[in-house]
């Protein structure tokens, strides 16, 4: 199995763990991740404004590279995934945006949303299968783990189509696959406070701590996430006393490639 792989900027600096362990786990599971050539920042956040084209172009370039390689595009950072998947949806369904983006890029073959974008979690669930991961686990993680989805993985569900936006199960199923016990906490799909970590820490504190408190009350020994900013907020602003880790790190540990 071969996929184009888009790490994103944060995974090259502050969130190296998310990237490294995604690669090593993929290798252990027989999946080849080929990093997209000369990728650029995804744009960080997706803008819903109809008249913002420029901020969507870098995502389109990434999508085009994957199309030219003839492979599906795998992302692992929840933020990048949200941006790229939504831009892809625009290129598919929003004529206004796609015409302008294509005019601007002047590519040989205009891009019309041909690439399939999947998150690393979807790769694990739909392409490899949690059952097969269970079989490949060498060191079962016998812990009680609370999964934090945040908003970017799930919403808007009409575009992301990863899971039920209000009752998701993909991370819990993942937790079960690596031999751990999922703890379901309140506010697992509510916002962590996001970029307010920069401008207004009190907002980030209030939002993150709701989930952290609920998880710790429910006996979680660890918190799992797929987003570097969520991880930061839960740790720094949510005051988590239990470890907050990327899901890829735990996967690598379970597969014995950490």
């Amino acid at each position: 199995m071969k996929y184009s792989y888009y790490p994103g900027c944060t995974l090259k600096t502050k969130a190296k763990d998310l990237d490294i362990y995604a690669r090593s786990s993929a290798e252990a599971l027989g999946v080849e991740l080929v990093e997209v050539k000369e990728w650029q920042c995804c744009g960080g956040v997706y803008t819903t404004a109809q008249d913002e084209i420029a901020t969507k172009l870098s995502a389109v370039r990434t999508l085009m590279s994957a199309r030219d390689e003839g492979t599906d595009l795998v992302t692992v950072c929840a933020a990048c995934h949200n941006v790229i998947k939504r831009v892809n949806d625009d290129m598919r369904n929003n004529e206004y945006v796609s015409t302008r983006a294509n005019n601007y890029l002047q590519a040989e073959a205009p891009y019309a949303g041909e690439t399939r974008v999947i998150h690393f979690l979807e790769l694990l669930r739909d392409e490899i299968g949690f059952e097969n991961i269970k079989k490949a686990v060498k060191n079962p993680i016998s812990k009680k783990i609370a999964a934090y989805y945040g908003c970017l993985l799930l919403r808007p569900s009409s575009v992301m189509q990863m899971d039920n936006p209000e009752n998701p199960s993909i991370l819990e199923d993942f937790i079960k696959a690596i031999g751990a016990t999922p703890v379901i906490s309140a506010y697992r799909n509510e916002c962590c406070g996001s970029y307010f970590a920069v401008t207004d820490k009190s907002i980030a504190k209030r939002n993150s701590s709701k989930f952290v408190d609920s998880s710790e009350k429910n006996g979680a020994e660890m918190i799992l996430t797929a987003c570097p900013l969520c991880l930061y907020n839960l740790k720094q602003n949510g005051g988590a006393s239990v470890p907050v880790v990327y899901f890829t790190e735990l996967l690598a540990e379970a597969l014995g490639v950490k």
């Binding site: 039920n164 936006p165 209000e166 009752n167 379901i184 309140a186 506010y187 509510e190 609920s214 009350k217 429910n218």
Partner: protein, 658 residues
């Protein structure tokens, strides 16, 4: 040559404001065959019709064109008028200059020009019209009611009381429908069972009513007055003639894991069971998916304990074929599935329930014996939140775009009953609008607020989370302009209602139409609300749109009257616009027979000329519905459709393109 009169209606100002009616009348006189034209304010009125009748008599008209509203509106009126003074009704044609001209165009010049062309096309057609005589067909004096809820029961009783036989086909093992699951009914708070079960018994004991329970209509053929239905009777594995409904089998059954449908899955029942104490017919039924005997071949405890020897594991599906003159659809509704509305956490929390589940929790025959205990820990809830419009009035794929109509009232009922019985309970109702149009309805809702102190909060709930066993309800209070957070013990969702899933297949079977929400469409939204557009098919209850019990019963009786009106006739006048074959042209190729959806065409050997016997198509005019499929298929042009002949349509085309 025809002598045609053209009559232009003003329809008050509906037509006359945009169409220069005088000019149309004047233009008509230049058309071939037209000998008279007139315009009048309201052609459909008594005096307008008299104008037409006088003209027919005085000018000796052989054809009439009325330029007015849609033929779907008044074609019958004008044809009747013509008939009353001796003109064949099928010599009358309508040019639709209201719906197709004056109401959609603003420019008088343009509209008048179009009206003239439509008039011209109608005149061209009438020039080729021929007198038609409708045939007759016999009426089978029996009715079929599909669905045995309160709607179906009421319709059946009313038809039966008028002296006609009725079959009720119910897919569940018992009749009674949703109403049998309700505890009390608004606005009078009578107990649902107390008013419903006597009706169920009345239906069962009525000599003209036959209840075919645990059965589904598989197919329907025929037409108004003469339908044939195939009814599939599912095996109960219990001999209906022998079973006494004593319930020993249900008591002895060792399988206890099946969800009890009657209690909305909040308790369990055996694999052999009687749906509820007042079930009609009161017979046991075996659920083969749960029965140990069916699964393993061993057990048979029920069989051994049945003193009536009614258990029959070898029972097979049965097909009943019956003829009916009329069919009533009363397929009812269900609350929607809440998978797409998980912000309310229905599947994640045992204590988030639907209103129908609450009905069972409050009912003396329910899983808690009528004591309000929440499902998770069987504790008495002290703070209850009701959420309105769950899935109603929304545009997302998980939502229904319509108002479910009954929720405001049953929620007022629930909150009132809870406050009455458990005054220590705080009740909050999140609402967007409170809709209480109905006799004594608003007074009822106000009582909940004023007398019972129910907290009505104007705003919707956005999210319900379970934080360590407490349900945290995040709602908004729009009047306070605040977000309110309530830690509730129990949350009750007023789930939208939708037509029963069988509605779609029933509609297809009956060629009755349904709307985008799968509600049956009525023949006219105001004037024919209980008839479907398909002749002989009538609508009763929620299958046509959301309704409460009083409305359902009223509509059920209205449908019954329509059925009785139909069944009281010995014969029906057929549509004379049917196909007919020109025997001289027909070569007996059988093409037409293959496309006929009604099997109206057969072949006879006929002497078409002296000594020349040939196989030619023969149309059964009582069966032909006049679709015209055969006319286009016929390679030799022998088949034509009366009232819509090739020549007539060609003439219309020519007139329009001229």
């Amino acid at each position: 040559m025809q002598k045609i009169g053209v009559f232009i209606c003003w329809c008050g100002s509906n037509i006359a404001a945009t169409v220069d009616v005088k000019r149309v009348a004047e233009a008509a006189l230049h058309e071939p065959g037209v000998v008279y034209s007139a315009d009048y304010q309201y052609m459909c009125s008594e005096s307008g019709q008299t104008l037409i009748k006088n003209a027919i008599k005085e000018k000796g008209l052989t054809g009439v064109v009325v330029c007015s509203c849609s033929p779907r509106m008044h074609e019958a009126t004008f044809r009747k008028a013509a008939e009353s003074c001796g003109l064949n009704p099928y010599m009358v044609e309508i040019a639709n200059i209201r719906e197709h001209v004056s109401w959609i165009h603003k420019d008088i010049e343009e509209a008048t020009e179009k009206a003239v062309i439509l008039m011209r096309a109608a005149v061209a057609k009438v020039n080729l019209n021929q007198s038609l005589t409708a045939g007759k067909s016999d009426v089978v004096k029996r009715a079929l009611v599909i669905g045995g809820g309160i709607a179906g029961i009421q319709t059946a009783i009313d038809i039966a009381d008028a002296g006609y036989e009725v079959d009720i086909v119910e897919k569940k093992p018992t009749i009674g429908g949703k109403m049998s699951q309700l505890d009390k009914t608004f606005p009078t708070l009578d107990c649902a069972a107390c008013i419903l079960t006597p009706k169920m018994v009345e239906a069962a004991s009525h000599e003209k009513i036959r209840i075919i329970s645990y059965s589904e209509v598989e197919s329907v053929s025929g037409f108004v007055g003469n339908f044939t239905a195939r009814i599939k009777k599912k095996p109960r594995y219990v001999n209906e003639a022998l079973c006494t409904g004593c319930g020993i089998c249900a008591e002895k059954c060792p399988s206890r894991k099946s969800k009890n449908e009657f209690n909305e899955g909040m308790d369990t029942r055996g694999a052999v069971y009687i749906p509820f104490a007042q079930a009609v017919p009161k017979l046991a039924v075996i659920d083969p998916t749960a029965c140990i005997k069916f699964k393993t071949g061993k057990c048979g405890l029920c069989e051994r304990n049945c003193t009536a020897k009614a258990i029959d594991f070898n029972q097979k599906e049965q097909i009943i074929e019956e003829k009916y003159g009329a069919i009533v659809v009363a397929t009812g509704f269900n609350p929607i599935k809440l998978d797409g509305l998980e912000e309310y956490g229905y599947s994640q929390n045992a204590d988030v329930i639907t209103s129908l589940e609450l009905e069972r929790l409050m009912n003396a025959a329910g899983p808690t014996g009528g004591v309000l205990l929440r499902p998770s820990d069987r504790q008495h809830p002290h703070k209850i939140v009701f959420v309105q419009c769950v899935g109603s009035r929304g545009l997302r794929p998980c939502d229904k775009p319509y108002c479910s109509k009954i929720c405001c009232m049953y929620t007022a009922k629930h909150s009132m009953l809870i406050r009455e019985k458990y005054p220590d309970t705080e009740v909050y109702v999140f609402y967007i609008d409170v809709r209480t149009p109905g006799k004594n309805f608003d007074e009822f809702y106000r009582r909940a607020v004023e007398q019972y102190g129910v907290h009505y909060v104007k705003g919707q709930v956005g999210k319900i989370v379970n934080d360590g066993g407490k349900l945290i309800v995040h709602g908004s209070d729009l009047l306070m302009n605040e977000q309110v957070i309530i830690d509730a013990d129990l949350v009750v969702l007023a789930a939208a209602i939708e037509p029963d899933p069988t509605a779609k297949s029933v509609a297809t079977m009956l060629t009755a139409s349904i709307d985008t929400n799968n509600f049956f469409t009525e023949a006219h939204p105001k004037l024919r609300p209980v008839e479907s557009p398909t002749a002989g098919v009538f609508l009763s209850g929620v299958c046509q749109g959301p309704k409460d019990i009083p409305e359902t019963v009223a509509q059920a009786s209205a449908a019954a009257v329509k059925v009785v009106g139909l069944l009281s006739k010995d014969q029906l006048t057929c549509n004379p616009c049917v196909a007919g074959s020109n025997e001289l042209l027909c070569n007996g190729c059988s093409s037409c027979e293959k496309v006929c959806p009604y099997g109206a065409i057969s072949y006879i050997t006929k002497e078409v000329r002296r000594g020349d016997f040939r196989r030619v198509a023969f149309v059964n005019e009582a069966v032909c519905q006049g679709c015209g499929a055969c006319t286009v298929t016929c390679p030799s042009g022998a088949m034509d459709l009366k009232g819509f002949t090739n020549k007539q349509i060609m003439a219309e085309v020519d007139a329009i393109c001229k």
